[in-house]
């Protein structure tokens, strides 16, 4: 770890990146953040003058897909830049050191940059059995998380795990895997959900924080508005087929070949906030819907429990049965309808009986006269 922190620009130049490429990166990032062209020089200036932001990157229960996505950021610079851009002082997956050395590096970073470092969390802590389901450096992960969070400036929750819990928190959640914001409640938290999040979204968030020295504007759920402000559906290139009512009914039908809307195949685009349909993946090559498969909603809270992936209507588990809203509703309505039919029949019988009694009563009284 260097004593005086280099600026991003210095790091880039040291890595053999030309100024031209650097400026390209700045304008691309400005565009990705939805900023005007005037912001490109501002980003460049920030990168030239500001010391790199120290980042501690911790890993809880996760699959490392966030890291994998992050190091595959589209712009050729990014994979070089971003890792060096943030002075990644601790990342047990990527760092060279291991064991006691690694833990010592964590401790050193925390002490050196007290209150100034960003804590990036990939994965989440399980809380059952005192957190024993995830051990880092011989201690439960939840302890490391709390320790590192105490002096952090802000926390980034990378991916669905840290943001919402993801698969390990799916029902019945045996390890009680808990998203970061439910464990750390006294720090600003940015959620960058997705399984994994888009690489450009991840680098975009960090670049924004560096350039403007503040957190990006967040929505109600704590996600950056610039990337999670709209649903995939809102910007989907297949949306006109949705409005026209042209749907794929089978994976191998003509509609599928024509690239029509995957709504009936269970596409979760209409309920998923993410930037897939605009930023896309793998250097903007494609995204799930463009490849002919519906969105599975991986950046939404509890998406594993809102299945099945291939049905439009989610299964309702609240009542202890796994049925969708329509089967449940139909059963209930049939129950009420049946009860009504029986009640109506009994009512009619009773009424006929009652009328008979009246008739009998009147004829008897007539007989007595």
């Amino acid at each position: 770890m260097s004593q005086s922190i280099e600026t991003f620009y210095e790091v880039m130049r040291r890595q053999g990146i030309t100024r031209r490429s650097f400026l390209k990166f700045c304008s691309l990032t400005a565009a990705a953040l939805g900023l005007g062209p005037a912001f490109a020089p501002k980003i460049a200036n920030a990168m030239e003058t500001k010391p790199r932001t120290p980042v501690i990157w911790v890993h809880g229960l996760e699959c490392t897909c966030c890291s994998e996505s992050f190091i595959r950021s589209a712009h050729p610079l990014v994979k070089d830049v971003v890792l060096s851009m943030i002075s990644l002082d601790y990342d047990d997956t990527l760092m060279a050191s291991a064991g006691h050395q690694a833990e010592a590096a964590l401790q050193e970073t925390i002490e050196k940059y007290k209150g100034n470092y960003i804590l990036a969390v990939e994965g989440n802590p399980p809380l059952n059995e005192d957190g024993m389901y995830c051990i880092i450096g011989g201690k439960p992960f939840v302890e490391q998380l709390r320790h590192a969070a105490k002096d952090a400036k802000a926390i980034i929750s990378w991916g669905a795990c840290a943001s919402y819990g993801c698969v390990q928190a799916a029902k019945p959640n045996p390890t009680r895997a808990t998203p970061v914001h439910k464990v750390i409640t006294d720090k600003p938290i940015i959620k960058v959900p997705g399984c994994p999040p888009i690489a450009e979204v991840m680098t975009g968030v960090i670049t924004y924080m560096l350039t403007f020295d503040r957190m990006p504007e967040l929505d109600r759920q704590g996600r950056p508005k610039m990337f999670y402000g709209q649903r995939i559906h809102d910007k989907c290139y297949r949306r006109p087929h949705f409005d026209a009512g042209q749907f794929v009914e089978n994976w191998d039908d003509d509609a599928a070949r024509r690239g029509e809307c995957l709504y009936k195949m269970g596409c979760k685009g209409p309920t998923t906030y993410n930037a897939c349909s605009t930023v896309r993946w793998n250097e903007g090559v494609s995204f799930p819907i463009q490849s002919g498969h519906g969105c599975i909603g991986c950046s939404e809270d509890g998406f594993w429990d809102n299945g099945p992936f291939y049905d439009r209507l989610a299964q309702v588990k609240q009542f202890g049965v796994e049925e969708n809203a329509d089967t449940l509703g139909r059963a209930a309505a049939a129950g009420v309808g049946g009860a009504i039919a029986v009640h109506a029949a009994v009512s009619a019988l009773k009424r006929a009986q009652h009328k008979n009694e009246i008739k009998k009563g009147s004829s008897m009284s007539q007989g007595e006269e």
Binding site: D243, Q246, R312, A325, D326, L328, G329, H354
Partner: protein, 263 residues
Amino acid sequence: MTTGMSTGAKPSTAIAGGGPSPAVAGADDVAPEDVASLQKITSVYVYEAPVRLWHWINALAIVVLAVTGYFIGSPPPAAAPGNTFDTFWFGYIRYAHFAAGYVLAVGFLGRIYWAIVGNHHARQLFYVALWSKKWWKEVLFELRWYFFLEKRPKKYVGHNPLAQFAMFFLFTLGVTFQIVTGFALYGEGLGEGSWADTLFGWVIPLFGGSMDVHTWHHLGMWWIMMFILTHVYVAIREDIMSRQSIVSTMISGTRTFKDDLPD
């Protein structure tokens, strides 16, 4: 308030003797037993015009909402292939749903306004007297009537307590739930910062996510379906079996009683 019927029934004491009364003279299908069964009929003006108008507009809106809502969840067979600028089939289904949703919501607001300025019957939809012992006793009585344990129903000018209970929990709460979740979902389309997002956007994280709100909104539709089933059945049944008019009351506003007995 007296109606033509009750004035027509006035000479019934005169008829008791047997001969046809002037009121019914000339009517071909008047049998002696009809005349013998004539009773004095009383009536009360219960549902004012705005309440009745709202009832039917609201009913129509619910039908449109339920049908289009069902199709939004399970779209009808796909439209023919072709240029997407030629067809707006699913768009119109959604449009009808949103339009009817606005009608329902605005109507509901108007109905709340009328509960404040209208007569006291107009307020029955919005509360249940859970604190009143008498109210519970009446609920119990009505339950017994519906379980065929009471031979003779009671007379009610407005809703009976059981009906009021069902109206409040199935209808008033159900529709409120649908309006709130519905506009929360609508706000997703209008976008961040729109009026619907500002007013109801908080609902979405409350349920977990957009998909969860969709599912609950869908279940809410079935909740209201069950209300409609019960409501229509009970209204018709009471119209036949109770001692007062029910169905025609929501058309004329007047509750007529089939007998003049005090209880």
